[in-house]
């Protein structure tokens, strides 16, 4: 059968590449954020904050183009599900970028002294590395429309959640020193932000399943933690 709607198909492919490219921007922001945490690098933190505009810009640009496609091309079935999924994924990307900004904004607060608890810093860096890997996996799962790979994100996210809980336990045990307590609290905010980034990666996985199956199911519902996905 002759190829029809090639320009439309091309446009869809380009927008998908653009949307997923946003994940690369997030990954890069997260890497630099982790570096800033590790080295208490306030200047690097400021760069991450400024560069978040690029992520926001990507969001706006692709979002607008997707709305235009909806209005002009009457997409249905898989095309429509893909566009809906991309709208969700863009939002996830934008939130992930914002979480990096949130982290970078509290880095100056931890001061230039050595960290109060090396253990906590290690945990946070580990959470970060693990989360970067989740982002990578989410991107690949979407590109390949791989539902199994998407579902696996839930399992790997559990590791991040556990590390986050461990940070919390360490923070509780930090002692009475006011400066140390303040430090610990900013570290908790950081851990929490990374945990949120990982959750967003899982959400992207749910969108993969939606595109492929046409069904939207939460892989893991916070309000029903014991229910099977």
């Amino acid at each position: 059968m002759p190829e029809v709607r090639t320009e439309y198909q091309q446009e869809l492919d380009n927008l998908e590449a653009s949307a997923l490219g946003g994940l690369d921007l997030v990954s890069s922001a997260l890497s630099r954020t982790l570096e800033a945490i590790e080295h208490q690098d306030i200047e690097l933190a400021q760069i991450v904050v400024a560069d978040d505009d690029r992520i926001d810009g990507r969001y706006l640009e692709v979002h607008q183009a997707l709305i235009t496609l909806l209005a002009t091309q009457s997409p249905v079935a898989t095309d429509l599900r893909l566009i809906s999924a991309m709208l969700h994924v863009l939002k996830n990307i934008e939130r992930m970028g914002d979480q990096c900004v949130n982290i970078c904004k509290v880095i100056p607060m931890s001061g230039h002294e050595p960290p109060a608890d090396e253990e906590m810093v290690k945990l946070i860096l580990s959470m970060g590395t693990h989360t970067k890997s989740l982002i990578s996996q989410a991107k690949r799962a979407f590109e390949e429309r791989n539902v199994e790979m998407a579902r696996d994100l839930v399992v790997r996210d559990d590791v991040v959640d556990e590390l986050n809980r461990e940070c919390f336990r360490l923070a509780l045990a930090i002692g009475d020193d006011a400066d140390k307590r303040e430090w610990a609290m900013t570290m908790l905010l950081t851990a929490r932000a990374i945990e949120r980034i990982a959750d967003n990666a899982v959400d992207i996985g749910e969108q993969v399943a939606f595109v492929v199956t046409g069904l939207f199911r939460e892989f893991e519902d916070a309000s029903h933690p014991d229910a099977n996905a």
């Binding site: 249905v76 079935a77 095309d79």
Partner: protein, 304 residues
């Protein structure tokens, strides 16, 4: 009552409902009902189910449509979509025995209206076509007749059983039902041909509904109309389904997705092969997650 049902509804040749003593004013369903006045919900009960089983259609030796089995549900709009030549119009026309009007055209298989075979021996095709009305692509009001007479045409052919007062009431009800009354009530005696395309089509719909059919078939009813008139007819179809069973052939995918409850996708494997039913399902599912790749490709516009 059983034996009466078949002859009574479809009549044997030469007899019509009116001549068998049933007042066409009765808005109730099949003539087998003994109640004289319709209850409030009776209008919805007018709509009946058409059941097609293994329908095969031929033009002489040419096998045009193959093995179609489907249900056309009451009080719903079923859209028949598919590329040109896939048999959807041929199939539609078999539902009210118009296919056979083409010389050499034949039907195999079973088509039932409310459980009764419309092709059974002794069934009068004219009676079938009154119960299963049709609206065509090109609006075709009778050009020399007034708007009033156009709507009353079906009643007129049935004879003098209908009083003037009754006829006036039916004409007004039909024109109101077709969303045309306000526009024409002051010129009912003017020719039907003086109306715009959209109005003419609504006039044809009023004409079809005036004889109290159970099913309305529409063959690309909006193809000759502008976008505004098209949307007006779609709104009308949404109203009409409360009273009738509706099946509509359309090559406009967006119309199918806007205006129908159920969508049936027909296709040809290649030119010269018979058309067949590929998939049928709720419209929202056909357009969000169709079962077959062929359907997905067609609704996404991946082939013509």
């Amino acid at each position: 009552m059983e034996g009466r049902k078949l002859k009574g509804r479809f009549g044997s040749r030469g007899k019509t409902e009116a001549e068998e003593g049933h007042n066409t004013m009765s808005q109730a369903g099949p003539v087998t009902e003994t109640s004289s006045k319709p209850a409030a919900g009776a209008n919805a009960r007018r709509a009946k189910t058409i059941e097609a089983k293994e329908v095969n259609l031929y033009y002489g030796d040419f096998h045009a449509v193959e093995g179609v089995s489907m249900t056309i549900e009451p009080n719903k709009v079923t859209a028949l979509i598919g590329s040109s030549g896939c048999g959807k119009t041929t199939f539609l026309r078999s539902l009210n025995r118009m296919h056979e009007l083409t010389p050499g055209a034949t039907v195999k298989g079973n088509i039932e209206l409310d459980g009764e075979d419309i092709y059974a021996n002794g069934v009068d095709p004219v009676a079938v076509r009154r119960l299963i009305g049709m609206v065509f692509q090109q609006p075709n009001p009778f050009p020399t007749m007034s708007i009033y007479d156009n709507v009353a045409a079906g009643l007129n052919f049935n004879s003098g059983r209908v009083s003037k007062a009754d006829k006036d009431a039916i004409v007004e009800k039909s024109l109101r039902g077709a969303h045309l009354w306000d526009e024409v009530k002051d010129r009912l005696d003017k020719p039907g041909s003086g109306l715009s395309g959209g109005q003419q089509q609504r006039l044809c719909i009023a004409r079809a509904t005036a004889v109290s059919p159970e099913v309305l078939l529409m063959d690309e009813p909006c193809s000759a109309l502008d976008p505004v008139a098209t949307l007006a007819i779609e709104d009308l179809i949404g109203e009409l389904k409360k009273e009738f069973t509706i099946a509509i052939v359309t090559h406009n995918m967006q119309q199918a997705s806007r205006a129908s409850d159920i969508t049936a996708f027909f296709n040809l494997d290649e030119s010269g092969k018979p058309g067949h039913l590929v998939e049928i399902g709720p419209t929202d599912e056909i357009f969000t997650k169709p079962q077959k790749k062929e359907t997905e490709d067609y609704v996404s516009g991946r082939f013509g």
